[in-house]
């Protein structure tokens, strides 16, 4: 492991860049104003290299490198947007769009435009459909909009809250976020801190009030549907 105080130099898109050892390619690129797209990456959560739209070409290697997690190496030559990179990013975006409802993910929509992703690139493709889950007074969950960035699961666990209400169920394309045995949020260990809602990059997790306004609820209805104590009291008596 190199000493973190040590400075190293690399080339990004033809530009010489000097950074502290241990800096990721993403941070180095951003430091000189080069934009690398991200979906799963978030400053407040552990980066797991999931979405791979941040991949760049490093030294022409066989594999593209996820910029959000790969540290810079001295003398590295990085191309952030060549043909291989574009193909991977575009294809990932097209596949994502074929599987997930991205209507309420404007940042991802902008990437689709930027990379010339065809919205109907994959005809007859199965979508990840899930019914909206409205099981608590604080937020609703619509996993047909979930891109599986894991942020909600992570902030609920070691990245912030240590509450462990959420997990991933199944695997592969069938993977989805769930409580233990799919119980309603109120029966889980959830403490309604709202951190998951705040880090969700799509419309998958939404505050109940916002959801109510979108549905055209009256103030009275919003009041009725978003009060924890009132609802509980009614249940028990």
């Amino acid at each position: 492991m190199s000493d973190a105080s040590e400075m190293i130099t690399l080339t990004i898109d033809g530009q010489q860049v000097a950074v502290a050892a241990g800096t990721t390619i993403l941070e180095a690129a951003r430091s000189v104003g080069i934009d690398v797209p991200v979906i799963c990456y978030h400053e407040a959560t552990t980066a797991n290299g999931l979405c791979r739209v941040c991949v760049v070409d490093a030294d022409g290697g066989r594999l593209l490198q996820p910029a959000c997690i790969v540290p810079c190496r001295a003398g590295m030559v990085v191309e952030t947007r060549n043909e291989r990179v574009e193909r991977s990013r575009r294809t990932i975006l097209e596949m994502l769009n074929s599987a997930v409802n991205l209507a309420e993910a404007p940042a991802i929509q902008a990437l689709l435009d930027d990379y010339g992703a065809q919205p109907d690139r994959f005809p007859a493709a199965e979508k990840r459909d899930h019914a909206l889950i409205d099981d608590n007074p604080f937020y609703v969950r619509d996993y047909s909009q979930c891109v599986l960035c894991w942020r909600c699961v992570q902030v609920c666990a070691e990245d912030a809250q240590y509450t462990y209400a959420l997990t991933l169920d199944h695997r592969g394309f069938e993977t989805h976020v769930s409580t233990a045995f799919g119980v309603p949020m109120l029966d889980s260990s959830c403490v309604f801190c709202g951190q998951c809602v705040s880090v969700c990059p799509t419309g998958a997790l939404k505050p109940k009030i916002e959801f109510g306004l979108e549905q055209g609820w009256t103030l009275e209805q919003i009041w009725e549907n978003t009060r924890f104590l009132k609802k509980n009291r009614r249940k028990s008596g």
Partner: protein, 569 residues
């Protein structure tokens, strides 16, 4: 009620254990009850101090665990390529018709659930099934000849087919039984190492022999051991990767079923070389016989003082534990395997850091394939030069290959590196059934060769030059009667079923690839281009080796037989 008590007793026995006991306890509960209910999961959560949500996530990750009741007997029928060639589709259809269910369903009387399965590692006896009986346990069943014997729980005998040049792995006669400790004899190589060699000398000898890993990645074994031994932080772990789930690969199963002590001796030599106090053998859940045989061998070795405390009266102590996988190909990837042992979902980790410094429980770990470890005792007994008398400079010694499909004598063959693929198939395997069309080497993650390309020498470098790979040593042969589109379709289903879902290219790409391969008979315009983009994206941008190779066979078929992908052919 009685059942709840039995489950309670099972869980209670795990008091004081940690998260790494999760797979073992889930296996026991699953076997006893046929599924893991929420109440039992909660008591497991309290006993092992693991969040209930995490336990649920683990149950959902593995194919052999269920969170809801299924039939008393669950039959997993393999539908991967080798079983496909052996006519498994009509077997499955017949079975389902007889029971009045479709694959994935349970009979109305609750007695049977029928499921499709990925490769069960019994390809030389295809078609194959795994039978899980509630309250009793699991057994494999191959070949499946008729529904009746499958349903009544009988277990057809399967004689090993092992051929080739027996030097390293199968000295002497063709194995037809499990070798006991008495038959295997003393662990002479281990004794020699413990009494006369330093750990450094052991790994140096293995390095000098040029032994490289046989699990597919081809990393030099002695070097791996040297790195691990030198890494800071105790304890060190020695892990045997017996997850063998690459379609068409069954050599590790044959080694474990017939020569369990050879594997244990190799594992202990590794443990000594890296100075590990603990060793694990991670065996795929679909190998119940191999797991039972290894358990017995461990007990035998323990009573003979060959493993455990102060082995052979020396200062060296090492325990060996078995862990059974829950049904997930990805757990053969070394870091996913560590996660599985640690009681988590089998997600591959980001590398670096590598296992030699941050492996099992984040400690320095050497993980080696079954075959790799089985080569070690003979190297230590006879020396590096002896091993090098076979093979080439870069591919030393002998290698086990698993041959299935259209050859007269499918089985495991020990070959000297350098033999050509044609010599293997026409010589050892007694020739083809029908006219050969294509050979898939390296399993589902491998690439196709045309029938006119099989003069290639079986060496790491030879196959690489031919643009293909030896991988795990799987060789699947397809004759001209086979529609390769059917083979591609099965491979597509395999990867879509086995992607862990962690990274987007593979999680999405394996599904989109499968959908297109499913409609190859009537492709949509642009499908070949779609397959190419998906394939290159998975190959270049995926997180682990699964996604990076999930399109290898498809991309090679696109190059070699473009007509397969054209409309109206």
């Amino acid at each position: 009620m009685a059942e709840m008590t039995r489950l309670g007793e099972i869980v209670a026995r795990y008091t004081g254990r940690g998260r790494d006991a999760l797979l073992p306890v889930l296996w026991e509960v699953q076997r006893e009850a046929g599924f893991v209910d929420a109440e039992t999961a909660l008591s497991v959560s309290r006993t092992l101090h693991v969040p209930i949500a995490d336990i649920y996530g683990v149950i959902g990750f593995y194919s052999l665990f269920s969170d809801e009741p299924e039939g008393e007997t669950v039959i997993h029928v393999c539908t991967d390529p080798s079983c496909g060639l052996a006519g498994v589709d009509s077997v499955l259809d017949g079975l389902c018709a007889q029971l009045g269910v479709r694959p994935g369903e349970t009979t109305a009387d609750g007695r049977y659930t029928i499921k499709r399965s990925t490769c069960l590692g019994l390809c030389e006896h295809a078609p194959a099934a795994l039978v899980c009986r509630r309250g009793e346990g699991e057994h494999s069943h191959a070949p499946v000849t008729d529904s009746e014997t499958l349903l009544n729980g009988s277990r057809p005998a399967r004689a090993a087919v092992v051929g080739g040049d027996w030097h390293v792995f199968f000295p002497g006669v063709e194995p037809n039984h499990t070798e006991s400790l008495a038959q295997y004899g003393d662990y002479a190589a281990l004794r020699h190492a413990l009494l006369a060699l330093t750990p450094e000398q052991v790994s140096a000898e293995v390095e000098a022999a040029g032994l490289v890993g046989r699990g597919g990645a081809g990393f030099p074994t002695g070097m791996k051991w040297r790195f691990t031994r030198g890494a800071g932080g105790q304890p060190h772990y020695a892990v045997c990767n017996a997850d063998e789930s690459e379609p068409g690969t069954f050599k590790d199963r044959v080694l474990m079923e017939h020569r369990p002590h050879l594997l244990l001796e190799g594992l202990l030599l590794c443990a000594y070389a890296i100075q590990a106090r603990y060793a694990f053998v991670f065996i795929r859940g679909e190998y119940p016989e191999a797991a039972a045989i290894m358990e017995t061998a461990i007990r035998e070795a323990q009573s003979a003082g060959l493993l455990g405390e102060r082995i052979m009266g020396t200062d060296f102590s090492c325990s060996v534990e078995i862990r059974r996988g829950g049904g997930a190909y990805i757990c053969g990837e070394e870091t996913a395997l560590f996660e599985a042992i640690e009681g988590k979902r089998g997600f591959p980790r980001i590398k670096p850091p590598y296992p030699t410094t941050h492996g099992l429980f984040d400690r320095p770990t050497s993980i080696n394939n079954v075959e790799t470890l089985c080569a070690v005792p003979a190297i230590i007994s006879n020396g590096a030069g002896w091993f090098r008398q076979w093979g080439t400079e870069k591919s030393t010694g002998t290698k086990l290959v698993s041959v299935s499909g259209h050859v007269r004598r499918p089985g495991v063959y020990e070959i000297s590196f350098g033999l050509t693929l044609r010599e293997l198939l026409e010589g050892h395997c007694a020739g083809f059934v029908g006219e050969p069309q294509a050979v898939l080497t390296g399993g589902a993650a491998g690439t196709f060769l045309r029938a006119d390309e099989i003069d290639v020498p079986l060496t790491f470098e030879g196959l690489q030059a031919a643009g293909t790979t030896l991988g795990s040593g799987a060789v699947m042969v397809f004759n001209t009667e086979v529609d390769l589109r059917d083979v591609l379709r099965r491979l597509g289903h395999f990867f879509a079923h086995e992607s862990c879902g962690k990274c987007f290219p593979c999680q999405l790409g394996t599904r989109r690839q499968m959908e297109i391969l499913d409609r190859l008979a009537q492709p949509l315009p642009g499908d070949a281009e779609r397959l190419r983009d998906i394939g290159l994206t998975m190959s270049e941008a995926s997180l682990c080796g699964l996604g990076q190779t999930a399109a290898a066979a498809v991309l090679s078929a696109l190059r070699k037989w473009p007509a397969l992908f054209a409309a109206g052919s």
